[in-house]
Symmetry: C2
Subunit: 282 residues, 2 copies
């Protein structure tokens, strides 16, 4: 998916939010915004939002000297998500269709606000997402692709959400390669976050080789490409990976909640929808 004009204000929002999260002073934030300002006229028509997002966060890191502003927040999210793990496993175990429920659990990980501090609230959120209708539901195609698949690639999104991915991976009952970012970017999962969520027990963890908030193939490593080309089922979590992979002709299923109006329009669903959607390969 290409950068839309509606993304321009959003790049400023992202820079502001990250800089404020770090506690940067207003002078520093001003300098950061002026530098974001400089990159906008140079955005090529074929750029995807994560490519520009990556540049925006690099500017924030450079001016604040902080490489991983979300480190503590990511640890907290993972710890909170782990408290829900037994509850999620029980939901899947007792479901009429455990695979379908595990997919919903994985999407719930993309939705739940781990900032809400009681386990009770999070269970409540989980429950409502398990009931929400899919706006696009390619479950039958997913199940049939999974049935034939020998080699599954699972491209991760945020830390914390990783625990929910684990529940789905355990239900796939096939060998899975789990892809994390090479370097910290926003609250996206890196290897450390995946291990903290126990993914090393259920999948082979590799890095994409990239540090963009979303999977940009042009930035990925040879190791990633080998796994990407050979996989016969690719699961892509979240909006950022969709932005990078939406035009790909590979057997990808996108699992996400459409939180951004531009992505919602691109997919053709209402903002707030949950989606299990096969790529144009199918």
């Amino acid at each position: 998916m290409k950068v839309y004009l509606d993304c321009y204000p959003c790049f400023f929002h992202q820079a502001l939010n990250a800089a404020r999260m770090i506690g940067a002073d207003e002078d520093t934030i001003h300098k950061i915004l002026l530098e974001v300002n400089k990159i906008l006229p140079e955005i090529p028509r074929e750029a995807t939002p994560p490519e520009i997002g990556r540049q925006v966060y690099r500017i924030v890191s450079r001016w604040t000297g902080i490489k991983d502003p979300y480190q503590e927040s990511k640890k907290r999210c993972t710890a909170q998500a782990l408290t829900l793990y037994p509850e999620m496993k029980e939901r899947v175990r007792s479901a009429d269709d455990p695979l379908e429920t595990a997919i919903r659990v994985a999407i719930a990980g993309n939705v739940i606000d781990f900032g809400s501090n009681t386990e009770f609230d999070m269970i409540d959120d989980l429950q409502s997402i398990l009931r929400q209708a899919f706006a696009i539901d390619h479950y039958d195609a997913f199940r049939s692709t999974l049935g034939k698949a020998k080699d599954i690639l699972y491209i991760a999104d945020n830390a914390g959400e990783t625990v929910f991915d684990r529940v789905l991976i355990e239900e796939l009952k096939k060998p899975v390669t789990y892809v994390v970012r090479e370097q910290p970017i926003i609250n996206d999962a890196v290897r450390e976050d995946a291990v903290a969520a126990g993914l090393d027990k259920v999948a082979n963890i590799i890095s994409s080789g990239a540090d963009s908030p979303g999977n940009i193939l042009g930035l990925c490593s040879g190791e990633f490409f080998k796994a990407y080309e050979s996989a016969d089922l690719i699961i892509s979590k979240g909006q950022g990976n969709y932005e990078g992979l939406s035009e790909e002709n590979r057997p990808i299923f996108f699992l996400l909640k459409a939180k951004c109006p531009v992505i919602s329009r691109h997919i053709g669903v209402q903002k707030g929808s949950i989606v299990l959607m096969g790529s144009r390969y199918f």
Copy 2:
């Protein structure tokens, strides 16, 4: 109130919304955004948001060739608001405190979405605003200032809202000068909009001399200044006028709904609050 860093993304949003409203093509919008981008590094520290907003809308006008994109929309809002006029008059007439109710009616004009197309919906909105508690309530000071006032200046905000202003002006029972913008800017009221709402029957309409979306004293005419300096009660409607006048040491009362997070923080209220607030003069 000065421009905050949080206003930067908002200037892009405003340009996007105005250009899309006109039906500009994506190439033109792209050019507009790049020109908005150019003015950001030059924003002086002491600038107020309406000063920059004015520049943003000028860019949109220049690229699209359309000077008054909101003309039709303003006419429709005024016509819709006029259908509510008898209902508003009846509410004020039957109220325990007609002046306080008329103030609420005037704020309701700043809140109601005239896009909602049934009279029934608008009456519903009006009713709920008449019940909403003020987050800041300087009604006693307002009433006492009004009691002594000989010369009232009322600075208007949007078209449509003008009809609601008329209800309050009729309740003030004193001579009122009603200030509109000199030139069209967003959906702000110009003389034509005020006359369409019947303000010429209850007030002396003058123009501020300016075309900024909010009253910027530096841009105002001599006629405005004379009225501004001699008034012993000034009523300032809406956020844009607050942005321009918040630091002024004149007998101003701000009537507004805090819709923007930056203005809400500046005033010290929750977003969504309604406010009747005296200036630092009091």
